[in-house]
């Protein structure tokens, strides 16, 4: 390799291309592995090229830049987060499918991906699902919904919001690049040293992991700060903390966890980077390093992280149960306290992720008990949700299907967690597929179903039309069945002793259940396909499915008081509310569509800012340069980030005015539309007759 080449491209060579695995293949499995990798990389490249082509062809670069990338509107940022999450979900699901296929074929050493490739697959799958699917999904929902629910015009720091998105997206881009310029880490989503140290893994893989995770972690910390300040300082008049919709409460707790739990991750990955790049001895085997520091730091982040993931889903379910039971939430106070308890307890259990790593039995016992305690507040929640349905007018709309499935499946997953919380049982079960079954049982019915329920629930608010329910049901039932088939067998496999992260095995007893799990994975792929079809069909029928009046589900919280899609300024005047279920109260009094009490005023909105996208490009370049030792690129990226940040401090005149007349015209048009739009009863809510104008629930119940 010439000096010039390495000056420019660092350690990047043609060997990084996945085709090479095909060329160097010595047997059928390696050949298949190469084909799988090349296809995946090809799809990523084609997808990117098509995107560029389509944007150019339809002259969309300008609108993309002006209306989306530089926008600091919390609603648009929320939508971009969710789009990112769905794209990454597609990739991670495809990887899950390949892994399931491999394990079904792996008996006797067969299969279609090499061991090395399999290790990359579970590492990227786990990393993506947690950091680039779940986190963006929930951050997106919070972004879109929370400011509307508390009657605010935006989050506290709109530009920083766009910066958060930029960092998260930069991490995601890095993962997509790693598909084409390989390899990614083989260290799993946890990246434990010493395996990921330079001594064992000198290649770029762990570096990809480090920088992708670090970037997304920084973005998440900033999001947490933003949400917390918004909730504390930007509630509308009359909305006390204990009057907030439960989704805001769970957002608050999640954000607090983000602020306190992400720094340990940054420290862990940062120190690992020091080890790898500068030869430090933080976690190495030799030189006085101590790997246990990594385990502690990582799980000091990792355990609160799983509550960061689940709490917003709890919030969504709370909204769903109350909306689709036409009842106020049962046990609101208990739910708030339970949420807070979970948030606090989440910091007291991290050791249960490594019961077997050598601490004393007494310490394990303490952490085991602390872990079991979390079952109590969670149990309270389950009962509260059931009692919300009790004697309610329950409608099994699509979000409710997810929610009910969640109640049952999540409880099962929780019980398997209680089993694992017992250190002596954990000694037997740890590192087996029992654990994989357990955490997927929490993450899929808990987090993912919650996100999908929220997506279905709030989609009409964001885009002005509901999602086609027929395909929605198909997707939901396939998800549920697919989950059961894909993961319940894994409990069995775990008890049979099958370790996790294993590509090939020589034990015929495991084969049948892996086959069942593969069947489940097929159903899950079908479920995702249904979601895609649903989106396509709904966009095509958007006129018929439109709900311009903005309240398709007869909901109870403020975000439904405005048109769908929500206007950029959210409310014509900041609302004044009293008590919980603010919008339900307004509707009961017949005040839902009033002109603002003291007339219309000019509204000050933040101007667009290029800081977010610039930091995204800069930090991607920096990280990519660091991964491949292209030092000039790393320095350049860092300089861009630095200069952009300083320059941003010199910005003045960051607001623009929306004229009172314009607000008035838009709002009055909306009110006028209300006069001509029929109110429809709940029985028609999933039909094209739904225009988003709900007839009051009280009338329906008596009639």
């Amino acid at each position: 390799m010439s000096d010039l080449w390495s000056l420019v491209f660092g350690r990047l060579t043609l060997d990084a291309l996945p085709v090479l695995e095909i060329i160097h293949a010595t047997n059928g499995r390696e050949l298949a592995s190469g084909i799988v990798g090349t296809t995946a990389a090809g799809l990523a490249v084609l997808g990117a090229l098509y995107l560029v082509y389509a944007l150019t062809k339809y002259h969309l670069w300008g609108p993309l830049w002006r209306d989306w990338l530089t926008s600091v509107d919390h609603k648009k940022i929320g939508i971009m987060y969710v789009v990112l999450a769905l794209v990454m979900l597609a990739r991670a699901l495809a990887e899950a499918f390949v892994m399931r296929t491999q394990q079904a074929l792996g008996d006797g050493g067969g299969g279609l991906v090499s061991n090395e490739h399999f290790a990359q697959l579970f590492s990227t799958h786990g990393t993506i699902m947690i950091f680039f699917m779940a986190m963006p999904f929930l951050t997106g929902l919070i972004n879109y919904v929370m400011p509307l629910q508390i009657g605010s015009r935006d989050v506290a720091f709109p530009t920083m919001n766009s910066v958060s998105l930029g960092f998260t997206a930069a991490g995601a881009v890095l993962l997509m690049i790693s598909l084409v310029l390989q390899p990614f880490s083989t260290g799993g989503w946890t990246g434990y040293p010493p395996f990921t140290e330079a001594a064992f893994n000198p290649g770029p893989g762990p570096d990809y992991w480090i920088w992708a995770v670090t970037l997304s972690g920084i973005g998440t910390t900033l999001s947490g700060i933003n949400f917390v300040v918004t909730i504390y300082k930007f509630r509308c008049d009359g909305m006390k903390l204990m009057d907030m919709p439960l989704f805001c409460w769970t957002s608050l707790c999640t954000s607090i966890l983000m602020i306190f739990a992400l720094p340990p991750l940054t420290v862990a990955t940062g120190l690992l980077a020091l080890d790898r790049y500068l030869g430090f001895h933080m976690f190495t085997n030799d030189g006085g390093g101590n790997m246990m520091n990594f385990a502690n730091l990582f799980w000091l982040f990792g355990h609160p992280e799983v509550y960061i993931l689940i709490l917003p889903a709890f919030g969504v379910y709370s909204e769903v149960f109350s909306t689709f039971s036409s009842k106020t939430l049962y046990g609101y106070t208990a739910l708030v306290i339970a949420t807070m308890c979970i948030a606090v307890l989440s910091f007291t259990v991290w050791v249960h992720h490594f019961f077997t790593m050598g601490q004393s039995a007494n310490l394990n016992a303490i952490f085991g008990i602390a872990t079991m305690l979390i079952g109590i507040p969670t149990g309270v929640k389950i009962y509260d949700w059931m009692l919300t349905m009790y004697r309610g007018r329950v409608r099994m709309a699509v979000p409710m299907v997810y929610a009910v499935a969640f109640l049952i499946l999540f409880t099962i997953g929780g019980l398997s967690g209680i089993l694992l919380a017992n250190p002596s049982l954990d000694y037997v079960m740890h590192n087996t597929l029992f654990l994989v079954a357990h955490f997927h049982n929490m993450l899929i019915p808990g987090l993912l179903f919650g996100m999908l329920a929220g997506y279905t629930l709030w989609f009409p608010k964001a885009f002005g039309f509901i999602l086609d329910p027929k395909w929605g049901y198909r997707a939901a039932y396939l998800w549920i069945a697919g989950f059961v088939f894909a993961f319940f067998p894994l409990y069995g496999l775990g008890i049979l002793g099958m370790p996790r992260r294993m590509a090939e095995y020589f034990n015929g007893a495991w084969f049948p259940l892996t086959l069942v799990a593969l069947l489940g994975a097929v159903m899950i792929i079908a479920a995702f396909a249904c979601l895609c079809i649903q989106l396509y069909v709904s966009i095509k029928n958007r006129e018929a499915l439109a709900v311009p009046m903005g309240d398709p589900w007869d909901s109870r919280t403020l975000e439904w008081a405005v048109p769908a899609p929500a206007p950029e300024w959210n409310f014509p005047a900041t609302p004044e509310v009293e008590g919980r279920d603010a919008f339900a109260t307004l509707k009961e009094g017949g005040y839902d569509l009033r002109a603002p009490d003291d007339g219309y005023h000019d509204i000050e909105m933040p101007r667009n800012s290029a800081l977010g996208p610039v930091l995204m490009v800069g930090s991607t370049a920096m990280a990519f340069g660091l991964v491949w030792y292209m030092w000039w690129l790393a320095a350049l990226g860092a300089m861009v980030c630095f200069a952009a940040t300083v320059a941003c401090g010199f910005r003045r005149n960051t607001h623009r005015i929306v004229k009172a007349e314009d607000v008035k015209a838009e709002w009055e048009a909306f009110c006028a539309l209300a006069d001509t739009t029929p109110r429809i009863p709940r029985s028609l809510e999933q039909t094209t007759q739904n225009m988003g104008h709900a007839s009051p629930a009280s009338e329906e119940i008596t009639s």
Binding site: P264, V267, L271, G287, G288, R652
Partner: protein
């Protein structure tokens, strides 16, 4: 008092909009500081755990010298004092001259601090105290220079604020920027006190 909007120095109602917006900005920055405090806290804890892992290399007694570190501590503490003067100057004087002078003094003190610290590191390295030598030194170099980098960043921020004054005068953004920078400035003092007590005094005790 009802005019207090946030912990720390408040601008007061006669600063109009700057005082209004400070409530959110300063609160947000406090929250940010909390997450930064976690980072330093974890690094200190890691240092404590690692401080026995000498790997046959030099230990605190061979490497640390209390005298320069004590001078550094004084420099940093005095820069906090002068920063306070700068903020008071901003609060009570419409003309920025007083504030600029005190800000420059603070930056100068902080930069001398950083310079002395770098000098300490060089001295340490001369005695074999490099991060690659042992787990103890790795954790030392993960913690202490991070504080120095923070101080440097705070100085750059101060210079950026001076640049903004040159362009826009003492406007609202400059004022709220100064409030936030002040929190960072004092926060870094507190972190240093922690480092001084745990790393240096603890190491030599």
């Amino acid at each position: 008092m009802s005019t207090t909007r946030h912990p720390g120095l408040n601008l007061g109602p006669h600063h109009g909009e700057a005082d209004d917006t400070a409530e959110v900005e300063v609160f947000g920055f406090w929250v940010f500081m909390m997450s930064d405090a976690i980072i330093f806290g974890l690094l200190m804890a890691t240092y404590v755990v690692m401080s026995g892992n000498l790997n046959g290399g030099p230990g605190p007694r061979e490497l640390f010298e209390l005298r320069p570190v004590f001078i550094e501590t004084m420099l940093l503490l005095f820069s906090s004092l002068t920063f306070g003067f700068a903020q008071i100057g901003m609060k009570y004087h419409p003309h920025p001259a007083r504030m600029i002078i005190w800000l420059l003094v603070s930056v100068a003190l902080a930069l001398i601090f950083v310079g002395m610290e770098v000098n300490d590191f060089i001295t340490m390295a001369g005695k074999g105290g490099i991060p690659q030598a042992s787990g103890f030194l790795s954790s030392f170099y993960a913690l202490v220079p991070l504080h120095g980098i923070h101080v440097t960043a705070a100085c750059i921020w101060a210079l950026a604020i001076l640049g903004q004054i040159a362009v826009y005068g003492l406007d609202d953004e400059v004022k709220t920027g100064m409030l936030r920078l002040g929190i960072l400035w004092h926060f870094l003092d507190i972190v240093w006190i922690g480092i001084f007590s745990i790393v240096y005094i603890g190491g030599l005790a």
